[in-house]
């Protein structure tokens, strides 16, 4: 058994979004899945882009985008190479 390292991703919870969250009106599960690539690889970001690319974008900016999708951020797991957002609905 290996032990977690200092680089273990950490979790942040947005409690406000979970208050009164109710999925009673949900009626089906099948999702839509969108993948948008802005460069072929993380080590191939184009000149002029932020060092961390999309990971440099703040939570507030993503929240603006997600408002148009009708999703709220419930929690985030941040790690060096990817941030994972758990969303409502």
């Amino acid at each position: 058994t290996l032990s977690p390292s200092e680089g273990t991703p950490h979790l942040t919870i947005n409690r406000e979004a979970t208050i009164d969250l109710d999925s009673s009106n949900a009626f089906e599960g099948p999702e839509k899945l969108l993948e948008v690539w802005f460069a072929p690889a993380p080590e191939a970001l184009p000149p002029g882009s932020q060092k961390n690319g999309l990971k440099a974008v703040t939570v507030d900016k993503w929240k603006e985008m997600l408002d148009q999708v009708n999703c709220k951020i419930l929690s985030v797991v941040e790690s060096e190479h990817v941030d994972a957002y758990l969303l409502s609905e």
Partner: protein, 404 residues
């Protein structure tokens, strides 16, 4: 629903009546303005009118159960394709599977070659070549600076007609009972009262082995102040309980992935979502993968999805074993599997002379044949369809299974 943000790409997977494609304009604007990716400006001083030019776009979905209840372009595949075609040039739309059964849709654009990096510089070629020769043939192109990356693979399992008795574990009532029985009432009391930052009493796995330490929530809070709280939630704590009880946390176990972190949420009155972040244990922080799970357990439209980009060879077994572990959790009546894999760059293959070794080449072909045959034999199910699509840079294999 879930979102994964990498430096170079964004993955957004949304459930129910969400309007995913309505977020595209803002996403492209954010990529240009806030992340600095090359953009096409409309000449307006309005920053929301600036849009980054994507390198590549993929959009996919299973056929909806109730399309008339969807919003915007999401009522039909035709409308979605029209919306995407309006935004991107060079897109192609496909339907995969039986039209009168569980089929799957895909829209993708060709790679934007103006955004691809230059090929590996000559002075680095020797180094790259050395690395290539030290790894198995199947991973030969995971190194170097090539835009072609054979470690890029996405597995998606879409399951319907879940076993109703088994699906009860994704209801709040059932999960609460499990939590109380297994971890004592203290878990829920703490969740309701609020745990302080790093409050040890909130460690729902404190009575279990240390193997589970990576799944223990901690509450480092760095959300903007108006969004944040130093308090955990019942949905998250019960989500953690469910992911442990249903076996999800064993799909990528901490014995192999010590830095893995699973973030799970149990909705009220039912429904479950989980994201997993899986740093590769053997690559010193050079690669991190993800998995995501969403479940709607209601009998009339029961559904579960599992998606991951953890390369099968790093998961301690074959892709078929991962599928069997997942299917065993949800026990669907039928399910489809899509496996999207990047192909090796044929130019680089030729330049590095790897195809010159006919024995190695034959071995790789045989390995692929065995792997494919193994995928056709998922325990308890019969494979009904197998459809292969050869795209620019990728191979897609769609399989459909029904319970025996």
């Amino acid at each position: 629903s879930s979102m994964f943000v990498f430096p170079h790409k964004l993955i957004l997977k949304t459930c129910g009546t969400t309007t995913l494609l309505f977020g595209l304009h803002r996403m492209l604007s954010i990529a240009a303005v806030d992340a600095g990716f090359p953009s096409q400006s409309t000449g307006s001083i309005d920053k929301t009118q600036v849009a980054a030019t994507p390198y590549r776009v993929f959009y996919s979905r299973k056929n909806f159960l109730f399309p008339d209840k969807q919003h915007g372009p999401h009522r039909s595949w035709k409308e979605e394709v029209k919306y995407l075609d309006h935004m991107f040039t060079g897109g192609s739309a496909y339907m995969v599977g039986k039209m009168n059964g569980d089929h799957w849709y895909l829209y993708l654009t060709a790679p934007n070659t103006t955004l691809a990096p230059s090929r590996t510089p000559e002075h680095q070629r020797t180094v790259t070549e050395t690395k290539v020769l030290q790894v198995p043939a199947s991973t030969a192109f995971a190194v170097g600076q090539s835009a072609w990356r054979t470690d890029d693979e996405t597995l998606e399992v879409l399951m319907t007609d879940l076993d109703p008795e088994n699906a009860k574990q994704f209801y709040l009532e059932h999960a609460s009972a499990v939590a109380e029985e297994k971890y004592s009432k203290r878990v829920r009391e703490v969740a309701k009262e609020g745990a302080s930052v790093h409050d040890d009493t909130f460690d729902v796995f404190s009575n279990t082995s240390s193997d589970h330490s990576a799944y223990t929530p901690d509450y480092d809070v760095d959300f903007p102040e108006e969004l944040s709280s130093q308090v955990g939630t019942e949905g998250h704590s019960l989500g953690t309980v469910v992911s442990e009880a249903c076996g999800l946390s064993e799909v990528y176990p901490t014995t192999i992935y010590p830095d893995a972190r699973v973030d799970a949420y149990l909705f009220t009155p039912c429904g479950f979502s989980a994201n997993g972040v899986i740093p590769a244990p053997d690559q010193a922080g050079t690669a991190t993968h993800y998995f995501t799970v969403h479940v709607t357990p209601e009998p009339l439209y029961s559904y579960a999805s599992f998606e991951t980009n953890v390369p099968a060879r790093r998961s301690g077994g074959e892709t078929a074993e991962v599928i069997e572990r997942v299917v065993d959790i949800f026990k669907p009546g039928r399910f489809s599997v899509t496996l999207f894999e990047a192909k090796a760059d044929p130019t680089e293959v030729r330049e590095l002379g790897l195809l010159g070794d006919s024995a190695a080449n034959a071995e790789a072909v045989e390995r692929g044949r065995i792997r494919s045959a193994r995928m056709d034999k998922i325990k308890g199910y019969r494979r009904v369809d197998r459809i292969v699509h050869d795209f620019d840079g990728y191979e897609l294999v769609f399989r459909y299974y029904e319970r025996n």
